[in-house]
Subunit: 285 residues, 2 copies
Amino acid sequence: MIRYHDVNGGLRQKYTASFRLDDLGLLRGYGIFDYFLVRQGVPMFWDDYADRFYRSARLLGLEVPIAPEELRQRIARLLEANRERNTAIRLLLTGGYADDSYTPAEPNLAIMQHPMPSVAPERYEEGIKLMLYRHLREVPEVKSTNYLTGIHIRELLKQAGAPEVLYHDGRLVSESARSNFFIVTAEGVLVTPAEQVLHGVTRKHVLELAQQAGIRTEVRDLTLDELPRAAEAFLTSTIKGVLPVVQIDELRIGEGRPGPVSRRLRELWQNHVADYIARHQPFKR
Amino acid sequence: MIRYHDVNGGLRQKYTASFRLDDLGLLRGYGIFDYFLVRQGVPMFWDDYADRFYRSARLLGLEVPIAPEELRQRIARLLEANRERNTAIRLLLTGGYADDSYTPAEPNLAIMQHPMPSVAPERYEEGIKLMLYRHLREVPEVKSTNYLTGIHIRELLKQAGAPEVLYHDGRLVSESARSNFFIVTAEGVLVTPAEQVLHGVTRKHVLELAQQAGIRTEVRDLTLDELPRAAEAFLTSTIKGVLPVVQIDELRIGEGRPGPVSRRLRELWQNHVADYIARHQPFKR
């Protein structure tokens, strides 16, 4: 049972943990976050997530009020208080309480704990459909809290029978709302967009795993024109891991079912996760 | 002294009024707002602001939990509690407390009261500089809480010595972060962009006032190419009213000082405001 969140360094009951209305995250959507899983007490890939969190803050001109080591301590205390060894942690940093409702002030920092998320197993077995949508996330390299478009198109996704979107700018494909996008070309090359995307932690590890497995990888521009010739496609994210894509709008990808490279990478990813757990300790206070 | 805000129908002390951390406005920037002035107890142009607030909600698939008449009652109660006759009101509606941190639930509605804002008088006398920036607001016809780009570029604006931005898409000019944009052509025609902009209440009234004064108006696409030939330019917003623009990046507009049409419209706007106050009553509970 998750009972607490951390608000600016204080443990608060989950149902009362709050930011005041004049918080810039709330009034102006000016905030960043990060989100990672905790397995058997081990915060997964902490160094990567911490790096990204501090980098996102810097890119928006916000200062995380504590050093990574103290942030780690606060996470340890929260995990201890909630006594859940398989769970998820969200770090949230906003522009703070602004006198003029617009200019960033001293940031507010919350650490929230959530239940371990799950993805239905058939999604991996069958693969999913994506819906193309023309959009570029604002300041895309930052993990900002801005999901206006992603949530706004939820009815379009439902109508399309697509659980996730694939953003493009009319020529280049970029990413999904909460995942990175990869294709495997007919020649067996793994390709993922280089620019104007969030640098996903799972994306980074999957690229490394592919290279180690002798799969050729290219991080470069990926055009809409290349999609019809793709042998396979998949998404990566913290929650999804490696999730096969078998359809994009009306385009069937490959055989219309998860391909061998996607399955191989999913397996490598799962082994990599298990290996990480075995090699790391739970955070200690 | 403003002491209270209204949170989901309850008056709360300003320094404790809050939304929980799991609010979608905070976690995902999924929310709308509106903002209007109250002069001598009279909420200015209430019908226009109420219409826009309910329309923004509808466009994002959010339902304002109360009808306009009840919203008006709540505003009346708040104004009575705070005893300020010259003030500003912010309506804020978010995607609510979402179990999965992503899917809109029962919306949260807050009514905040702020001090009457002011703009330095020399801004009107001297006019201001705008900085061009390539950006299109997401779902631009909705008054969403998403100001990620507008706030992110605050250092660029400072460096440019420009208090406000002018967004464009490489070809068409759209709007500023919190204001609409107008030019007066060499032929004396008042032009403001038609599409992909917020439909400002002040914009609407200024267009009507111009027409009544016999000024030709065109609501249409406005290209970047037209800026060098503009005789005058100005912004309109709830806070700014009619604010002359005399420079855009390195381009001097007209004579580099506020022109006669901008001054005329500012005067008509001020008279229109006075007239509105004279013809309307403070909200009664």
